[in-house]
Amino acid sequence: MAWLDTIYEYDGSFDGFLCCVYESYINKEFPIAFCGDEECFSLYPVRCVITIPEHARRVLRSLVSISEPAVRLLRRAFLTCMEDRESHLYAFVRKLYAQGDSFLRDQSDPVYHPLAQAVRHLNGELEKLRGFVRFSDYNGVLGGEIAPKNRVLPLLRSHFCNRCANESFFLYDRTHRELLLYADGCSRILPVDQLQLDLPGQEEVHYRTLWKCFHETIAIRERTNPRCQNTFLPKRYRGTMTEFLPDVYETIPPEVPAGAPGSGAPGGIPAPGIPPGSGPSAPGSTP
């Protein structure tokens, strides 16, 4: 008997997705679409999947027994921004159960390829953001913002916790509205709806000016090549990079205390660009 087409509603976490896999095999249903918190109207039957850690663990165990690299790939692919992400992941899991892991050798495999491509995109963004994140010093605490397409914050976590191990810092993901906090060797990722940063202090402005000056001077005029620059540093990253922000953001009248309302200059790093509220919000992340 053919499996029944169903829409699955789940909480948006990786464990939740594993529970969807569990339910689908238990009930012999084929999830043709997945939806998160938002209401979905459809003529298909809807199943609301509740995340049960025991079920998630069971699915995970079975996947690990087939192939550990496949599970690593699944975890990464879950953080990407590919369209119909869950459906692609589900197809991947089914193929893994049906055929084993031999198709993982072939990146052109129709089920594997979309995942491989999405993960490549994620890895590219991750690699770039390791360098492009700009921290500002707020009274000894470092803070920065990013606006990535993929959910890279969980993956940036270990890099920055290692690099800034002796500091306290926070990093805000505007697209997915998540905040990474780190202090004294502990880090957390929390969903935060909005983050308004303070104006930078005197010393911070000084360093930004120095950096901007360095960035301008180091370019060789005779070799100017905007196309090359745009390839390596796409414009969408520049909204949070201090060297590309207009001067207005750097100059604060010295008599106005930092953060005072109506001081004219927009606060802190936030640049024009993505207004808060774009993109799906992150599901409740666990530390």
């Binding site: 052109s108 700009r134 120095l210 180091i218 005779e222 620059q229």
Partner: protein, 423 residues
Amino acid sequence: MELLEKLRILSDAAKYDAACTSSGVRRGFQPGKIGNTSSSLAGCCHSFSADGRCITLLKVLMTNCCVYDCKYCVNRRSNDTRRAAFTPRELADLTIGFYRRNYIEGLFLSSGVLRNPDYTTEQMVRCLRLLRHDYGFNGYIHAKAIPGTSPELVTQLGLLADRLSVNIELPSETGLQTLAPDKSRDAILRPMGQIRDEVTRNKAELVKYRHAPSFAPAGQSTQLIVGATGDSDRNILYLTQSLYRRYRLKRVFYSAYVPVVENTLLPSLDTKPPLLREHRLYQADWLLRFYGFQAEELLTEAQPDFNPRIDPKCNWAIQHLEEFPVEVMTADYERLLRVPGIGPLSARRIVSARRVSHLDFDSLKKLGVVLKRAQYFLTCCGQMRSGLRFSAATLVGQMERIERGELPAENTAVQLSLFDNAG
């Protein structure tokens, strides 16, 4: 002088150095110290300047005062330019400030020669010692070894830095004699030899004693200026190959000569930097390091310069059509690597994928092979790609057409003739 002004002068003077990488060393966080070296071995770019070059390190000179008078250099003694010098503490503060804000991966410290090479290196050592020991800086440091420095100081420098480099700049002895009369080939090669030997010895020490201090763990590199002298591409590439083999360099950088001074021995001031030639040299450099090519295969006495309109790999393939087409399903890895449009990554993917499935041209595309070049040199299960029309005679033209869209908008013919006049 204010710090901002100093930074402007000293980064302006350092910008002609091409090397800006933080790769080759993996050192994790150490308690009580600041930072680590990039967690990936590949290095990390923090920004890109208007000329499209990556900014990884704070690239500055300790001072731009110089006793030498190398004709091609902005910092030469006879040039009328503003001079400045960082104090060790200023530079250390700046590095830490930039590093904390994730602007940079570390410091690239070079210097003009103040008084004499030894004195200059002492200044650099003092700054690096402050940074490493007093500030506990654990990030990446690239330092220049100045030709003529005594071996003891080079050793001290190597114990503080991750990578050392000695710039050869002019690829031939004659160029050196005419344009940089204060330097000699011997003085340049001696520190390179010393660094090579110490790195080797240090590797052996580290095997025996886990806590032996590491000497330049990321090895050494050098830079060659392209287009200031009449050297052919062949000279430069042969030199590169012997540097990789004999001095075990990690990288050779090429820097298209930007005319900064009027001199009868140099190209005139309105000469455009030979960017395309530099690009071709980098492509050939990659072929030497990752594709198993030899310099002798790429350039011969009969053809001492690269064809500017086709990349070196395509050029080689067109001249060796007897080796093609290559069968995707059976060819070994080394043969796949020689196909234009296939790099180490896609070659590995092909070798892995063909064990489980039959590959056609569509799946090659999905594997990341650049088909617009590769299709002329490949067969899949014995079949060429359908609808492909070409002959040995038309192939050159077709390759040029592919490349044309990717080249910078400049007249390549003009560039070559300028080079010919340059000698």
